[in-house]
Symmetry: C2
Subunit: 257 residues, 2 copies
Amino acid sequence: MAEKPLILISNDDSIYAKGIKELVKAVKPLGNIVVVAPAQPQSGKSHAVTLDMPLTYRQTKLDEDILSYKVSGTPADCIKIALFKILDRMPNIILSGINHGSNSSVNILYSGTMGAAMEGALHGIPSIGFSLLNFAADADFSTARIFVEKITRTVLAYKGKNNICLNVNIPYDQPENIKGIKVCRQSEGEWREFFSERFHPGNKRPYYWLTGNYKNNEPESSDTDEFALAQGYVSVQPITIDCTDYKMLSDLKKWDF
Amino acid sequence: MAEKPLILISNDDSIYAKGIKELVKAVKPLGNIVVVAPAQPQSGKSHAVTLDMPLTYRQTKLDEDILSYKVSGTPADCIKIALFKILDRMPNIILSGINHGSNSSVNILYSGTMGAAMEGALHGIPSIGFSLLNFAADADFSTARIFVEKITRTVLAYKGKNNICLNVNIPYDQPENIKGIKVCRQSEGEWREFFSERFHPGNKRPYYWLTGNYKNNEPESSDTDEFALAQGYVSVQPITIDCTDYKMLSDLKKWDF
C-alpha cells in the first residue's frame, strides 16, 4: 500500500482559531496531517519572518489524533521551522487557513495565510491558502469544507509543476447557492485608509487604529477574483513568487539611466 | 516656478539607521523631502501591517531641514500613515532604504524595504526600494548615493505608468568598479534554513535562531539580478503587485475541479 500523503497545515489566525480545526476536519481522509501553526494571532503579517528574536515551539493538542505544534512566530516562520526542524520528510502539500475573512485582490499582499502558502511554494511544495468570506470567530465552515476537500484532492492528484500555489476564497453561503469554482486573476484594487484617532487616558497623546474601505479599481472586469466572488463562485487564483513585472521589463530595458 | 517634487522617504532599518540618512543626502537636491520611518528596526517584516495594536507617530530630527516622523509600526504602516494622515498632498515619488543588505532574488518577499515601496505602488505612486550589498551598520554608502540619485532622477522624469515600482540593488564597491545599471528579472532561489539551537538558562527549554544559506537555483541564467550583481552591475528589477501566475492561469482553467 502506498504511503499516505503528508499534509502540513498552518494558518495566521493562530492554532486556537476555529478555521484551522475546520481545515483539519476537511482534509483528514486525504493523508497524514501535521499542524504547525502560530501560538498567537498573526493577521496582516504578510510574508514576515522573525529575525530579531529566537523562535520556540511546543507540541500541543488540537485534535486527538493529529500531531500539532504551536510556534512563537509568524506563519512563514511556522513553515520554515516545520520543513527544516520539525518534520523528518518534506510534506506532499501545504495547506494554510481556513482564514476568517477574504484574501482576494490586494489582501494577498498583507495576508499571513498566503505568506505561509507562498513560503511552501518557495521550497517547491504545492501550497494552498484557503479563506472564507466571513470574519466571525464562530463562522460556519461547512460549505467551505466541501470546497477545501475538493480542491486539495485535485492538487494532490496533479503531477505537473511542483511549486503550484493557489489562493482560494470561498463565499459565505449554503453549498447549493455556490455556482462553482472559477479560476481568476487578482483584481486591481486598494484600501483607502482612514486612521481612527483616540487619545491615551493618561498622557492625552493621540494613537491611531488602521481602518479603511476597499476600493475595486476595475469593477467592470469579469475575469477577476472579486467578480467571481460577487457572482457566488469560489475563486482560485494561481500565485507566483516571482515579483518581476514582465510587461515593464522590456520597456525598462530601453530607458537611458 | 514649478513646485518641487514631494519625495516621501521610508525604510525598514529604522529612522536611526545610517542608510536612510544617506538616502536623504543622495536625493536632497531633487525635491522637498518628508521622512516617515519606523521607530524600531523592521527587517524581515515584508508587507506586514499592524492590525492588533494602534499606531503612534511623532515628529523627530533626522537632518536639520528635513521634516521627519517616526512611527511605531512596520514600513507598510509608515507609508499608509504618511499618505492618509501626515501628508497634505500625495508625494510624487516614494523612496525606501537604503537597506543595509541585499534584497535581490527571493529576499524581496521578506523585505520590509520593498514592503514600503510596494505599498506606494499600490496607491499609484512611483516607488523605489534601494539596497546596498553590505550589512554593516557603518557601511560606506558613497557609491550607492551616486546610483540612487541617478535612478531617482530618471524615474521622476518618466511620464508613463504611474505605479512603477523598482527593486534596486547596489554592489558594495568603488564607483569606478561598477559596470553600469542592468535591468533584470528576479532570480529563482531559496533560503535553505537551519535553526541554531540554544537553551534557556533557567528552564533549559530550547529556542531557535533562524539562519540559513541562500541557494541560487539558476546560476547559469544571465538575465537575473543575482547574475548582474555578481558581474558588478547595479540591478534594477521592475516589480508588480499582481501576484497572479499568468502562465499557470491558462493551464488551471482546463482543470476539472
